[in-house]
Assembly symmetry: C2
Homo-oligomer: 343 residues x 2
């Protein structure tokens, strides 16, 4: 007989007005218990959570559910969730067997019973990479970088690209893809440690936007033909002012605006003055076209070390709320991963 154990969970508790507050926006709940051997699965799968991804976009789910957006809102009193990797403990679904690793949308709790398996899939690891890579360079962030770069950059050798949040899991892969395509690469981040990493992965110019003005760097090193925007606001204005004629702006995210209700942009006149094309996208829409190529190309290069990545691993499910805040504030040093269990 296995003991009945506490099944810790992160619950969404209230809609924040500014930055999310751990203990208020989310709470760590220990009131639920689970008996792993006897809990009824009703045809579902019992998953033990191993790795959880914490990403900037999650702030968008912390909203009043009446506000429509591409990702559904978190539900007050229910667990928060996001991409993760887990291992199957028991299964009544023939597509999943004990010991299988799964990737997909996982609730932020130690154990999950999934009856609807539409958003998880079994993954194999032929290159024997850390499971955390499946939520980073091989997961949604890596796919975002690869697929949108292929779809929208129209990059030509000799052109110049500017990548904001360049030390993150998306930006750092964009940097490396742009270098492979023969571009001059300018990257920005918010700490000296991140700047050092950006240089290590090949950026020609790397700077700390907190100590050096983005506009000054772009005036000196530009004009820019491609801008990978993860920031919005004043950084986007600086990029608009530094754009070459016919520049492509890839609108991936706007971290500067998530916790403020919107940071203004003033320089959109450059859209027609410089004939700029700006493409917003949701990576899900690019999966059908690019998944096969991504999976054939990127995992072997990550395994060989040709493509580099960095993770900032936080240990313990109870810390998810703090990590969410750290990511919104940019305090994480690299791709944020919450390591929940070893196996």
């Amino acid at each position: 007989m296995t003991p009945i154990i506490i099944n810790g969970r992160i619950l969404f508790n209230s809609v924040p007005t500014g930055f999310p507050e751990p203990g208020k926006t989310t709470i760590y709940d220990t009131t639920q218990t689970i008996d792993l051997e006897s809990v009824a699965l009703d045809g579902g799968v019992l998953i033990k959570v191993l790795e959880l991804s914490v990403d900037p976009y999650m702030r968008g789910r912390m909203r009043d559910p009446s506000v429509k957006s591409y990702a559904p809102a978190f539900v007050i009193g229910e667990p928060t969730y996001g991409f993760g990797v887990g291992v199957v403990v028991r299964s009544e679904n023939p597509a999943f067997k004990t010991g299988d690793h799964v990737y997909g949308i996982l609730e932020h709790q130690h154990y999950i019973i999934k009856k609807d398996v539409s958003r998880i899939k079994v993954i194999t690891n032929p290159n024997n990479l850390p499971w955390s890579t499946f939520i980073g360079v091989l997961g949604m962030p890596g796919r975002t970088a690869y697929m949108a770069w292929k779809e929208f950059s129209k990059a030509k050798p000799g052109e110049t690209v500017f990548v904001s949040t360049a030390a993150g899991p998306v930006g750092s892969l964009v940097i490396q893809l742009a270098k492979k395509d023969g571009l001059k690469v300018i990257g920005s981040a918010g700490s000296e440690e991140k700047v050092q990493f950006i240089k290590e992965i090949g950026a020609d110019v790397a700077f700390n936007y907190k100590t050096t003005k983005t506009a000054e760097v772009l005036e000196k090193e530009g004009p820019i033909d491609v801008y990978w925007d993860n920031v919005g606001g004043a950084t986007l204005d600086a990029a608009l002012e530094a754009a070459s004629k016919g520049a492509r702006f890839i609108e991936c995210g706007m971290i500067s605006t998530y916790n403020t209700g919107g940071e203004p942009v003033f320089k959109l006149q450059q859209m027609f003055r410089r004939s700029i094309t700006m493409s917003g996208f949701i990576v899900d829409d690019l999966y059908p076209k690019w998944t096969e190529e991504f999976e054939a190309t990127i995992p072997p290069k990550v395994a060989s070390g040709e493509i580099k990545y960095r993770e900032d691993i936080y240990r313990g499910l109870e810390n998810v709320g703090d990590v969410i805040l750290a990511v919104q504030k940019g305090l994480n040093k690299a791709k944020a991963v919450v390591h929940v269990a070893d196996a």
Copy 2:
């Protein structure tokens, strides 16, 4: 012997900080004289100006010349200029003969000696349309509407388009093209008279943005699949909030920002939330691809009345400065034309 006559000119006098001020930003100068029969042409062409176009983009030329942009800055002490129609008085260039009508960039003065003829061309008028149409529905504004609609709208029957400044020479042709393509058309303008005109040319929904909130109209009548932006600022924000997934935004101009240094835009998060593509353009870049089709299609439809246009004709070169201001303030009732001479 012809008399020596005064050759009135509009001179650029000072860079405005806000709206241009007639008499200060531009002055009407009568100090130059010309002898039409004996003035030396040095191989050039003597043109009598008939019609001059006054357009919103002209504000962009009234800047410090150190600021780069797609159109060169006006030069202090020199005549302002823009699209116009004139007639050849005398010519020493075999490509132009007396009586030919010409279209192109003309200085704002009664008579011009053009030695560089690279920006003017002889026009014919087989449909016997007013010469003013060559600077309106058949000129740069009409070509802007037609070519960018064809290039960027990706319009499908049953979709919805919102056109700002819909009573102007660009917007009013966009309205008619969109109706021909089977779209539901929403148009806005700044007076009841303009709203009436928008309805007459086929808009399904027409409103006065000064008395009705754009956001409310778009919430009721949207979502919008295409936005034709001539305004920027708060109107662009309203369009972003009302965009459907995959919407196309055509960035033609931003009249709200020209005299204020930039009106902020807050809602660019919708770029990725709604997978919006925003295309800025300069119409010159579209000419090679679309001119032939435009010239085969549009003039006969204008002549037959199938395509409607409206002009607000001001008489007298000396009024150019006032008309420039009126256009920046939206006080003109339709496409602004300065009628300088009859023939």
